[in-house]
Structures are given as C-alpha cells and as structure tokens.
C-alpha cells in the first residue's frame, strides 16, 4: 500500500505536469449542435465552438471578444459544465472538467450572467439568494451563514437593509451586485463573466467594472471576461482573445492588441468602438452587417467574405492558428 502510493507520487512528479499556476486550460474545445431537423429534412450541423485553445494563469484576466452569435456564451456554458463539449477538453487547475464532481466544480468556477433581471429568482429575498450557495453546500451553521451574507453584502457595496428586499425592489446595478455576491460567497478560483455590464446603464457599468477589479485584487480571482465591447474589456483585462464564428482568430496582451492588432477582424472591431464624442455618428467598420450562416461556414478562412483584405487563397485555404502561448500573441490570418 505504502509503496504503491510512493510509486504513484513518483509518477506524478516525473510526468510533465501542467504548470500549477494554470487556472484554466482549454484544448481544442468544440461544440456542435444539430439544428433544424424535421421529419423530411436532414438536421444540419452548427459548429458553435470550434477547436478553441486558451490558457488562463491564476490571477489573470482574459477578455473574450466577438460579435453576437460567435459562440462566446456557448463557450461559457461549456466551462461551467452546463453543456458537454463535442470535442476537446477543459482543465480546471489541471484537472479535466468532466471528472470533477458537479458540486466540487461549483466551488471552483462560478458565473456572473449578463442580465441581472433574469439571473435572480424573483421569489427569493436578497439574503436568501446570496446564501443559496451556502445552503446548497451546507456550509456553516445558520448564524454563520447569516454573518457571511452580511459580510458579502458589505464587500459588494450593498446596504445591509437590502438583505430583506426582493430583486424586484432593486435597480439593475444593485441586482448585478447581488449576482456578484452570490457568485463569490464560496470564494471560487475562477469567475466567468458573461457580458456582466451590457444590460446596465453606462454610468452603472463603470461602477460594476470597478467593483469587479477591486474584487479581483482582494480575493485573488481569475476572470474570463466575455464581452462584445472592446472598450469595456480595455480597462479590465490582461489579455484579449478575439472570437469569430466559433474560432479564436487573434490572441494578444492588451497593450499589443490595442497598439497593433494583426487580424483584419480585430482591426475592424477596434475601429467600430463608439467614441463618447457626440455628432460623430456610428463608425463604419467596413464589414457590412451580414453575419455568415454558422451552419454553412465559408470555405477557407471563415472571415474572408467580409474581409477587406481577402485574396484568392483566403477562400481556399484556412489560415493556421499558431499554438497557445506563442510569444507576442497569435493571429489566424495569412497576412498576419
């Protein structure tokens, strides 16, 4: 018995173990859906997420950017274990996601959803919503839970009297604070923020972003921050990954991305960011507004029908994506 464990630990030592500081690793993660199958029509396949590989170090914030329908939220659902991937793997702290028990997973990764109006059960008081994780996991005695809830409300900047209120009595920003409190009360390592500010007023957005940043320092959190808005991501993240039609097309550190994006799609996204200056109107990214049908992705580079730089080979040959961790960032484009 003794020797066995010794051998076991020896093997673990000698194996090229994944770096312990990696909080989250996605390797070639894919998700396909079958859609539109009827009695006479064959179902078509929709590739929502395709071969996505990403790494997040502990304490790092990665921004995931892309337009609506590019697969960002599906990716989030895969990470949270809400759906099973069709291919590839998710490693959380080096452990495969599908081998982690659902309840154990809940303690390590938590979501903050987009819409604070639908992410809180309208029948529960704020205290009961924030306490829910403790109740489900049976952590602490009754009084202990109550004091933890009060502490958490303080941390997210909600008044204590809010505990007795119902979500319907709170504003959007306050609701999002409740959602953040619920996600963090069990002190997860990783938080998946799925557009946490896009349903809020601009003035409230800044408050919530500041809160998220402060909490990252305070609790040592790792964020995957999903957004369609580069200007929101700009203030918060260390690295940015850009997604188009289910694929990562570019990944760079924040400075590199905002100074020298190489993929034409990223460049268009940067150009499309709204300026606060009135009278300038909506900037034209030069992409048109037609999103390709994800059940029939274009041949070659998926972006070529909309790309201002497309050449003949773009429609034939898909550009290769350099592997994760390529120094200086990576982009899937023939011209990058």
């Amino acid at each position: 018995m003794m020797t066995e464990t010794l051998i076991q630990s020896d093997r673990e030592m000698s194996a090229p173990a994944p770096s312990p500081s990696l909080a989250l690793e996605l390797s070639a993660l894919s998700k396909r859906y079958r859609v539109g199958g009827g009695m006479l029509r064959a179902a078509r396949e929709l590739q929502a997420v395709s071969e996505v590989s990403l790494r997040l170090r502990a304490g790092e914030t990665l921004g995931l950017v892309g337009e609506s329908g590019c697969g960002k939220s599906t990716l989030a659902r895969l990470l949270l274990g809400l759906e099973a991937p069709s291919g590839g793997d998710v490693l959380i702290g080096g452990e495969p996601l599908h081998r982690i028990d659902r309840r154990a997973l809940a303690r390590r990764i938590q979501p903050i959803f987009q819409d604070p109006y639908s992410s809180l059960n309208p029948r529960r008081s704020v205290a009961s919503i924030v306490r829910l994780p403790l109740d489900v996991h049976e952590i602490g005695a009754r009084t202990e839970r109550a004091s933890k809830v009060v502490e958490m409300l303080d941390i997210v900047g909600l008044p204590r009297r809010a505990a007795r209120q119902y979500p319907g009595q709170l504003s959007g920003g306050q609701r999002q604070r409740v959602a953040i409190a619920r996600a963090l009360i069990m002190r997860p390592d990783i938080v998946v923020c799925d557009e946490p500010t896009s349903a809020l007023d601009v003035s409230v957005q800044a408050q919530i972003l500041n809160l998220l940043m402060a909490l990252r320092e305070e609790l040592g959190l790792t964020y995957l921050f999903i957004s369609h808005d580069l200007s929101v991501v700009e203030h918060l993240v260390d690295r940015v990954a850009v997604m188009y039609l289910g694929r990562i097309v570019e990944e760079r550190t924040r400075e590199q991305l905002f100074k020298g994006a190489r993929h034409p799609y990223t460049q268009a996204l940067l150009a499309s960011a709204l300026t606060p200056e009135p009278g300038l109107g909506v900037p034209d990214a030069g992409l048109g507004t037609v999103m390709p049908d994800p059940t029939r992705p274009p041949a070659g580079c998926a972006f070529h029908p909309r790309c201002p730089r497309a050449e003949a080979r773009c429609s034939q040959q898909a550009p290769a994506m350099p592997p994760v961790g390529t120094p200086g960032g990576r982009a899937a484009c023939h011209f990058a």
Partner: protein, 221 residues
C-alpha cells in the same frame, strides 16, 4: 327555514352538509390532479426532448377523452361512491395542470437564475421544487381553483345522473335529482341546491383571482 324535501328532511341542514361534500370532492380531486399534472408538466418542461414527447402524448390522449362520458362509464362499472368520484375526477382533470406547468417551466428552464442554480451544484429536486415551482405557483393556483370548480360541477352532474355520491348522503347534485319530479310545483326544491352550487363555484373562482394577485411577485412592490 327552507322547508323539507319529499321525505321530510330539513333542506337547510342537508344544504349545509352538502357543502362539506362538494368542497371535499373539489379539494381532493384538485389535489390528486395537481399532483399528477404538475409532476408530469414540470418534468416535460424541464427535460424537453423525449420526456417531453412522451408526456405530451399522454396529455393529448387525455384531452381526447370526454371527461363526463368516461367518468359515467367508469362510475357505472365500479359503482358510484364518494371515493370513486374523487379518484375518477382526480385521474381525469390533470390535463390543464400539466399543460400550464409544462409551458411555464419551459419558459423558466433557460432563465439565468435556473442556470446559476445549476452551476451552484443544486440537485434536480432543488431546482424543480425550490427554484421553478414557486415561480409558477401563481398560475397553478388559478388552475387549481378552476379545476376545483370543475370537479364540483362534475360531481353534481354525476350525482344527478345517479352515478356519483349515493343517497342518503346529501350531495347537491343528488338533491336536484330528487327534486326534479316536483320542479313545476315546488321549484325551490331544485333552485336552492342549484343556487348553492352557483354561489360556491363563483366564490372559488373569486378566491383564485385574489390569491393570484397576492402571490404575484410584482405585487410585492
């Protein structure tokens, strides 16, 4: 006060005792059908796919059965009694519960608070009973009162036709049946239990409306 019937029994006391039977049948039948209908509906709505297809088939089958006819046939086979009526109606009136629960659950299944309950590691039972059920309870209370009224009327129908509650129990339907021979001479003999039925069913429906208003989450503001 209301006189006596053909056997000399006091109308008022029979009327009062009959209310007990009507209410008992209404509540018991509504409870049984709620249990069946809500269970089926919430499972169909939450899981979708095959489970939904099978349960939907059951609902459609049930909707294709004429309630009164089946109840009459079964009651005449088994023999009418209080228990028979309650069980029969309970087994026949669950369709509306199932349909309402199913569609309400479908709406909530993908709501973000149900998703976040799933990511918290809540058990299936917790999600269905503590997250979804309280949020559809308002609609279900209305259905429950409708079905209760429905059951009371059906019981009166069955008793009137002699297939429901058996004499000498004072069911209102039975009282109408017993009085129908004197309809043209002493109309109040059937009018009194008739009016009682009408008032009871109306009251139940009003209670249902009131409960829904109290229960709506926006009513808390």
């Amino acid at each position: 006060m209301l006189g006596t019937d053909k056997l000399g029994r006091d109308m008022l006391s029979r009327l009062i005792f009959g209310a007990r039977i009507s209410l008992f049948i209404g509540i018991a039948a509504a409870l049984i059908s709620a249990l069946i209908g809500i269970t089926l509906g919430i499972l169909a709505g939450y899981f979708g796919g095959r489970v939904d297809s099978v349960i939907n088939y059951l609902i459609t089958t049930r909707l294709a059965l004429p309630v009164v006819l089946v109840a009459l046939a079964m009651a005449s086979l088994v023999g009418g009694s209080l228990t028979t009526v309650v069980v029969l109606l309970g087994l026949l009136l669950w369709d509306r519960f199932a349909v309402v629960t199913r569609s309400a659950t479908q709406q909530l299944r993908d709501s973000e608070y149900v998703l976040s309950a799933r990511t918290l590691g809540c058990s299936l039972q917790w999600i269905l009973l503590r997250e979804i059920l309280p949020n559809i309870a308002g609609a279900l209370i209305v259905v429950a009162t409708l079905e209760m009224a429905h059951a009371i009327l059906l019981e009166a129908t069955l008793s009137f036709l002699g297939m429901g509650v058996q004499p000498p129990l004072p069911s209102w339907g039975l009282m109408v049946a017993e009085g129908k021979a004197y309809m043209f001479f002493k109309p109040w003999v059937i009018a009194i239990p008739g009016v009682a039925l009408f008032v009871l069913v109306l009251a139940i429906n009003l209670i249902g409306d009131g409960l829904r208003d109290i229960n709506a989450p926006d009513g808390r503001n």
